[in-house]
């Protein structure tokens, strides 16, 4: 890239920053690195600019490279929640795409600074991951690449089985026990709703005695955290370090997963607004603006077999803005059935933008969709649910459901817990012999058989003693208990009675 281009990019950066601030976006200092495509593909695959080595990142790199070389490359944007906020631009992209990406990134920056779900994430993850990469390399030299790889395999298998609310109640086992005993040393902070919180009954003697021995004192979804602290293997310090790095990275990426639709919708909404201004102010030529429009259409393209978060998030934000401008919300509006009245509804409220800023601060995907996905948006976007019907040599993909209520209901459900099955460790000393007992909170969908077995093998590698996983599986119209057990000789399944 030539120096003049870099200068024009810097001009664009300054202009975009001014326009974004004028719109009311609040962001951390922003930095852009212009990098070759190969480096960009690497960052996308490794999830962080410099990260530890693992074959799965190598695989993802080849997947990204394949997509890139076949030209499904949407204008790439990679942005990290760090302070200053770091983002990347591909050196070969044409100027209008760079501008699109930069405007988009400023909105992400604002989102990450202001969404409450990002508030507790570590903003030093970039440097911390680079340091971890160094340490892992040393471990590979000291303990062998295979041992390190096997450990990372196992850690990554349960990386998403973390406690999404961990930052809200940092606590150790002793304090959990105290709470369960009813001995809370610190009283909960006094708030306006304290009087409606249920009073916890004091534990009886029996309960206390049982509690003293129970580990974990109450079921925990934090599989990696519990294993790091309690594995009877026992884990060496370097192994705990590797697993902790994996856990911290998953924790860091969790808010991205929880707010994918919102975050991308927000950024798309604002890059359109900002680029429009750039064009009006004649910073972009008509030809460049045309180019932008072309790429912007690709950003918001329909996917027949997956939901495009840019498209859906943008459409919902637009709809929210319109409805809060016209006052189209609340019981009075909801209960109006007359199509014409609804069509002409306008209270002159004009609070669209205000509402947008409020929503981006508080919501995450599943309740964003639950609260704001309307019949109009579902119908505008022609959202549907598809199913695959089995044929002798292929699956036929068929549009199954277009009814807005049903589509929305299933979508919201699939967004909860980011689509990860909820698995809790209920006993770390099962049968009084340090076996691990886990329970799957069955919510209508069974575990994927092959994946469950292989994952259990990997977890067993971390725990070493036998491990168990209690779940359910559907049989005709009912479900029945299913218990997986993994030990050094393999994985077994026992099935219980119907219910």
């Amino acid at each position: 890239m030539q120096g003049t281009d870099l200068k024009r990019l810097n001009d664009a950066d300054q202009l975009i920053r001014e326009i974004a601030a004028e719109f009311g976006l609040e962001f951390m200092p922003q930095e852009f690195d212009v990098v070759p495509a190969q480096k960009m593909l690497e960052i996308m695959a490794y999830r962080l600019p410099v990260n530890f080595s693992h074959w799965s990142f190598g695989r993802d790199y080849e997947i990204e490279r394949t997509k890139f070389e076949h030209g499904y490359a949407v204008p790439y944007e990679v942005v990290f929640n760090s302070d200053p906020c770091r983002a990347y631009l591909i050196d070969t992209n044409p100027f209008p795409i760079q501008v699109l990406v930069m405007a988009h990134v400023y909105a992400h920056n604002d989102f990450m600074k202001n969404s409450r779900h990002f508030r507790n994430s570590r903003r030093d993850m970039i440097t911390s991951a680079a340091a971890a990469a160094e340490r892992f390399r040393a471990y590979e030299e000291d303990y062998g690449i295979d041992a390190v790889e096997r450990l990372i395999d196992a850690g990554m298998a349960i990386q998403w089985n973390i406690d999404p609310t961990e930052h809200l109640h940092r606590q150790n086992e002793a304090s959990v026990r105290d709470r369960l005993y009813g001995w809370d040393r610190q009283l909960p902070s006094r708030g306006p709703y304290n009087d409606v919180l249920p009073e916890r009954p004091k534990a009886t003697r029996e309960e206390k005695r049982a509690l003293q021995k129970r580990t974990p004192p109450e079921p925990t979804p934090d599989l990696l955290g519990y294993i790091i602290g309690h594995s009877p293997r026992p884990l060496a310090e370097w192994e705990k370090d590797v697993l902790s790095v994996i856990k911290n990275q998953a924790q860091y990426f969790l808010p991205y997963r929880q707010t994918k639709i919102m975050n991308e919708g927000w950024a798309t909404y604002w890059h359109e607004q900002i680029v429009q201004r750039l064009f009006q102010e004649k910073f972009l030529s008509a030809e460049e603006h045309g180019y932008f429009n072309l790429y912007n259409a690709r950003v918001k393209a329909h996917n027949p077999r997956s939901l495009n978060p840019y498209l859906l998030g943008h459409a919902i934000f637009k709809d929210v803005e319109r409805r809060w401008n016209l006052g189209r919300f609340g019981p009075e509006y909801e209960e109006t059935t007359d199509a014409r009245t609804r069509e002409e509804w306008d209270t002159g409220l004009g609070k669209g933008r205000e509402k947008l800023f409020e929503v981006r601060r508080t919501h995450m995907d599943w309740f964003f969709v639950d609260e704001f996905l309307t019949r109009e948006v579902v119908q505008d976007l022609d959202l549907y649910l598809y199913l695959e019907h089995e044929h002798p040599s292929y699956y036929e993909v068929v549009v199954e459901e277009t009814g807005w209520k049903r589509v929305k209901q299933i979508l919201v459900h699939s967004l909860m817990n980011s689509g990860i099955p909820r698995i809790l460790i209920t006993d770390g000393n099962y049968r009084n012999s340090l076996q691990l007992y886990m329970e799957h909170a069955y919510e209508g969908l069974p575990l994927h058989e092959e994946y469950a077995r292989k994952t259990l093998e990997l977890v067993h590698h971390l725990w070493d003693r036998p491990i168990h996983l209690q779940t359910r599986e559907p049989v005709n119209d009912r479900t029945r208990d299913k218990l997986y057990t993994a030990d050094e000789s393999g994985v077994y399944v026992r099935r219980g009675g119907n219910s």
């Binding site: 190969q38 480096k39 074959w55 089985n161 649910l385 292929y394 036929e396 994952t455």
Partner: protein, 437 residues
């Protein structure tokens, strides 16, 4: 400035970890061999030995939801018509690319792989069938040259300098000792005398006896090379003996052999040749193309020239028989006649007779591949099946024909699609290694 272009010249990490993944995915590539073997891009590739093959990545396991009724699903947008079919997804094992949904980590990716590596993977599966050690004459394979012995005469390029210098040193030291013994002068004087007389021992003796004081020559002892000192090496050719094998590749190039059929036949021979050239140091291959008449052609013509006209397969077998008689006597050679056609034959009975004539000469094995399409009028496989008493064998879902004529195994395959290429290769090139050293 907030927009900067840092230097990212550090070693690319993606590639090294990709290699690690590729190592893991080897097994997957092996399972994909049938797909890869059928891939046109490989056969039509230019010089480049590296090809890109689509594979499925190794899965990253984690707890995920399964399906209730074995059917997957998801969300999409842009369609409002209920019941509309929006696509198909091939089942596993029958995939030809495309992106299966449902499970994570099953994205297709293209990985670069060396043809050699692919052939390496075939190695475990394939080899020449019924390869016998022929007693009378084995092919002599030159492995280069080795030095054999050292002689006093020879040509200059083969002068062994080290040996020659050694001889000179040995001779000079002996002379010095003899002179010291005879004259009683010091070692130094004797050396100087020898140097002064250019190594002439009689003159040196005379000089020493005359009692002349000799001028110092040099501190280092001096050695003079004489023609007696020169040593030369002789060389002989290094050879290895290996069983003779010749492939007589016959192919129908008549008008009825459409592009697709020729592609099958060529693919098959391409892989067979690449493969044989890799594992056997010396395999002779002769190319016979035929319409109603057969002729010997070179490799390029064989693969690139098409002709029109009718088909008499017998002509190819007759030419093969002739070649065996004149050049590749089966007492010296393992002869492998292979034939590909679409099964159209104006005179199948004559072909059966001609085939029997070839079999009567006891080749190592005989293979026939018939490329059938919906519309081809294939008669030859049927005729051979009846005429030679072949039996149908089902192996891993691939149907082929097997039989024996005297001691010669006969193999017949029917190719209907690209997916049949690899099984066909496996059928033809099923080694029985028992007889091999």
């Amino acid at each position: 400035m907030a927009v900067v272009q840092p230097d990212y010249s550090s070693a690319p990490r993606g590639k090294t970890d990709a290699a690690r993944h590729r190592h893991k995915v080897k097994e997957a590539i092996r399972q994909n061999l049938p797909d890869i073997v059928g891939d046109e891009a490989i056969i039509t590739r230019k010089e480049n030995q590296i090809v890109k093959v689509p594979i499925k990545g190794v899965k990253s396991y984690q707890f995920i939801h399964g399906r209730t009724g074995g059917e997957g699903g998801g969300f999409g947008s842009g369609e409002s018509q209920r019941g509309k079919v929006i696509g198909r997804r091939p089942k596993q094992g029958q995939s030809q690319g495309g992106k299966p949904g449902g499970e994570p980590g099953t994205d297709y990716l293209e990985t670069e792989i060396d043809i050699e590596e692919i052939i390496e993977m075939m190695l475990d599966d394939l080899g020449l069938p019924n390869l016998r050690r022929k007693q009378v004459r084995e092919t002599v394979i030159p492995k280069g040259w080795t030095f054999d012995s050292v002689e006093r005469t020879g040509i200059r390029p083969r002068l062994d300098k080290k040996r020659s210098i050694k001889e000179a040193i040995r001779r000079t030291e002996t002379l010095v000792a003899v002179l010291m013994d005879q004259t009683g002068r010091s070692e130094q004087d004797c050396r100087r005398a020898l140097a002064a007389t250019q190594g002439d021992s009689t003159a040196a003796l005379r000089l020493l006896e005359s009692g002349t004081v000799l001028p110092p020559v040099s501190d280092e002892p001096e050695y003079l090379l004489e023609s007696d000192d020169l040593r030369f090496r002789t060389i002989t050719e290094d050879v290895e003996y290996q069983s003779n094998a010749v492939i007589l590749a016959m192919m129908d190039v008549s008008g009825s052999m459409g592009t697709m059929k020729k592609y099958f036949a060529r693919s098959f021979y391409f892989w067979m040749l690449s493969f044989l050239k890799t594992i056997y140091r010396k395999v002779e291959i002769r190319f016979i193309s035929h319409t109603t008449e057969a002729k010997l052609v070179n490799e390029h013509e064989f693969f690139h020239k098409g002709e029109s006209g009718g088909t008499k397969c017998a002509s190819a077998y007759e030419l093969t028989a002739e070649l065996i008689d004149t050049e590749y006597s089966t007492s010296h050679w393992n002869v492998y006649p292979f034939h590909f056609s679409d099964g159209e034959d104006w005179d199948p009975y004559r072909t059966v007779e001609a085939t029997k004539a070839v079999l009567g000469r006891q080749p190592a094995a005989l293979g026939y591949g018939e490329i059938q399409t919906e519309y081809s009028a294939s008669v030859l496989m049927k005729a051979l099946e009846e005429g030679l008493g072949l039996g149908a064998v089902q192996d891993n879902g691939f149907l082929h024909y097997e039989g024996k004529y005297n001691e010669t195994p006969i193999l017949g395959v029917v190719l209907r699609s690209r997916d049949d290429l690899y099984p066909a290769l496996r059928t033809f090139l099923k080694p029985d290694r028992g007889d091999l050293p």
